[in-house]
Symmetry: C2
Subunit: 146 residues, 2 copies
Amino acid sequence: MNAEKIRKFNRFYTRVLGLMNQYTDKSKFTLLETQLLYEINRNKGCSANDLINFFQLDKGYLSRVLKKLESQNAVIRHYSSEDKRKIKLYLTNDGKKELDDLIALSNCYVLSMVDQIPEEEQLKLIKAMEQIELILTEFVDQKRNK
Amino acid sequence: MNAEKIRKFNRFYTRVLGLMNQYTDKSKFTLLETQLLYEINRNKGCSANDLINFFQLDKGYLSRVLKKLESQNAVIRHYSSEDKRKIKLYLTNDGKKELDDLIALSNCYVLSMVDQIPEEEQLKLIKAMEQIELILTEFVDQKRNK
DNA sequence: CGCTTCGGTTGACAAAAGCAACAATTTACA
DNA sequence: TGTAAATTGTTGCTTTTGTCAACCGAAGCG
């Protein structure tokens, strides 16, 4: 049955992620913080609410994490002029630099796992990943927005 | 660069997993507990240490989680006769039943995400997943054992 | 206007996870 | 053999992470 096979992959890839995410052990940022920095940089000027929807977080919790990131000088908030309730989030220059370091470190961990694989196998791997993204993307977005 | 593409997939699939794992919200077991039940059933008579290595858990933490699972009558421990430090872990009949329910529920969530996809696309999806497992399996095992 | 919704903050609390000290075995090896 | 070192697991304590509900000010809307 297909569901079984997908769950098998899920169990497998959960452990792959565990290994590849170990880079955060070396960092002063947690995995969540890293993901937030990444997303804030990708979606410049996004609101806390955007992040809540994207990552499915509790708003109280996120509020605190953002406060911490701000106190660490990685993120800055500007109140939106159109809607004074909303906050627009940006990385500071420091934050951008931190993120670049994190990305480099993350790449490093990923490569340590992958660069022993022959070139052609790596290509197959990437193709397979892109295939999965292609097929599942619409459902992720769909589920997220409700 | 390949690492970037893999990290993109990782970010993507992290969110897929978040959605597909929501089944645990409906359960009296947490995600970790579910994974433990699954692994104890798969690897009957395994020790706490086996689980620590497999899931990379703190041993103190695992000890408590197992105690809880035992108090819930899902897991039973037998002291190993060869090595009196070691404990052999098994599911109880209740635990096996709970696990079966969890698996059914999990399948349900996975299907809810996947069954809108045309049959042939589903097949491509599974093929891609199997491809990834094939390519990465040895590295997961390798990393885990050290 | 007054009511409701929305975006975000705060306090209090619960759950999850990590750390270090410890006990009981087992293993290694002098 | 005996004893130090390593292994397996437990416990107390702390920190981190996450949840819940009450709340505030702003915006939408009849």
